[in-house]
Amino acid sequence: MSTKDSESGVFGLEFSAEDRLFRIGLGISGVIMFLVGVFPIYWMAQSSFKTRQAILNSASPLPGPGSFTLSNYAILTNSDVSLYVINTAIVTLGTIILVVIVSLIAGYGLARFEFPHKENFARFLLFGYMFSPIVLGLPLYLIWKRLGLLNTRIGLIVALTAISMPFSVWLMWKYIQTIPRSMEESAWVVGASRWRGFRDVVIPQSQPAIIAAALFAFALAWNDFTFAQILLPRNEATTFAPGVFRLITQGYDTSWADIMAVSMMMTVPPMLFAYFLQSYLLKGFQIRSL
């Protein structure tokens, strides 16, 4: 880098001025980002505390004294809606567990064993993302029906786990590669079987990757609409996304206030994870190569 053509900051400013400009720009950007990011959530939250009437009356920034209410959250006691939420929670939990187990084992195998076409297999998996859910929709419906998995939570869990596979297996594989083999070998030397070594040494060491994979599985399962829509066609068993969608489109009497309340409920867990577990999410995305 020649020192001749860069003796000044951008726009020909002095370096100290450039610094200041940069920091101001940074600050403004931060504020904009914050506002844009927070606004919809804030709006959703404050609307959920307004009475139905208050919403119809005006779009005020906060619930006024007469319009504040907690009654919207009563919709959660509505048997349909609470069922949807519970189902979502169960499916999400199940998916997380299954994803972690399957990807841990596969990731370990890919990291520690040599077998032909290993690289191609991994790339082939990633290729799977190219299939639109629509392509898979009907066939999946028929296959699941044949397997008796239709309208079951387990069926959805299996489907969602399969969708998470490419990413989480990749993650585990790359992470376990960074655990030195000598750590396992030292366990073998003292008499631990490969399985014991895996349990006592590899798994504790893989904690960051496990959390990242779990987070990713959570985002996928908690968020899912399409697969639940296709694989849980019956009302009673469905999860939140298709359930609420049906509620609204079928013209039942649900007000915006109620909808905002339930939406708020569904948003709280992701918000908590986003605050407390952000470093794990970043760790998981430090991919090296395709």
Partner: protein
Amino acid sequence: MASETIDVERGREGPLPLHWLPVDRETLSGAATVLPVVVLYLLIAILPVSFAVYASLYEIPLLNPNWEFVGLANYAEVLRIDRFWGSLWTGVVYMVGSTLFQLVVGLWLALVLNRITRFQKVLTAVIFTAYLIPTIVVALVSLFMFDEFVGVFHILGSEWLGLWAPNDFAIGSKTWAMPLLILIGSWKFAVFITIFALAQLRAIPSRFYEAAKVCGANKWQMFRDITLPRIQGVILVAVLLRSIFMFNKFDIIWIITQGGPGFATTTLPILAYREAFVGGNYGLGNAMAVVMFVFLALGAVAYFRLFNPSEEVETST
């Protein structure tokens, strides 16, 4: 390094008499560990796609269990109908518009998050929340905010900015449906790019920038010569994935506009869904879906040829 030899277990006798197999024990162990993944993948991807291709060769009326073999007639019809090309175009518009917008915004977010010192954790939490929020919630809140009677953005748009008439449902208008769809989706999906980019940015050692400063580089030059080359690889990967996901996007479009008004926001997935599940013509719908897939596959191959994002991306351990 001392302990870097491959762990070969050739020659060991385990409990099973495996020497009659054409593969060695290590391959077997490796294959066993990925077996669950393979089974799942088979169920979720291989079988359905094969089935879809198979079904696309038949005419399948909704309630009639008899499939009539029509060969490539479905494909011929697919390519013939107006709506197909229109939807393809709409889909491309949606894909390109979304991806570009998400790229710019996502990168900008990552760069800011990387440098900001105060409130970094809160800001990062807000940004990540946008990505983790279920799509249905994003869709519902958008519908609420643009609702022509009570929506805050609707009011802002009509009274403050004069973008649309007070009685017009913005999302239901031909001019605004697509742009708003892109904007709403990008609010959530841009963060995908941010996460990739941020993970890479954090991995760039600060001594690279320090060395550049010693040489007298300014901020733009440091960005151009140090930052960009390092994140290039991940960005290309992220853009590829984003393009694929946006082209295949079904849920957010269906929830918000159902492909309307008219066909203004009908992309190929929407069209295929309509044909198969609403129009009842499974064969045709499947053919459409297969064409979609082929289109994507070709696009991905071209992309790889052009950009080769599979080059090793540097991370410092």
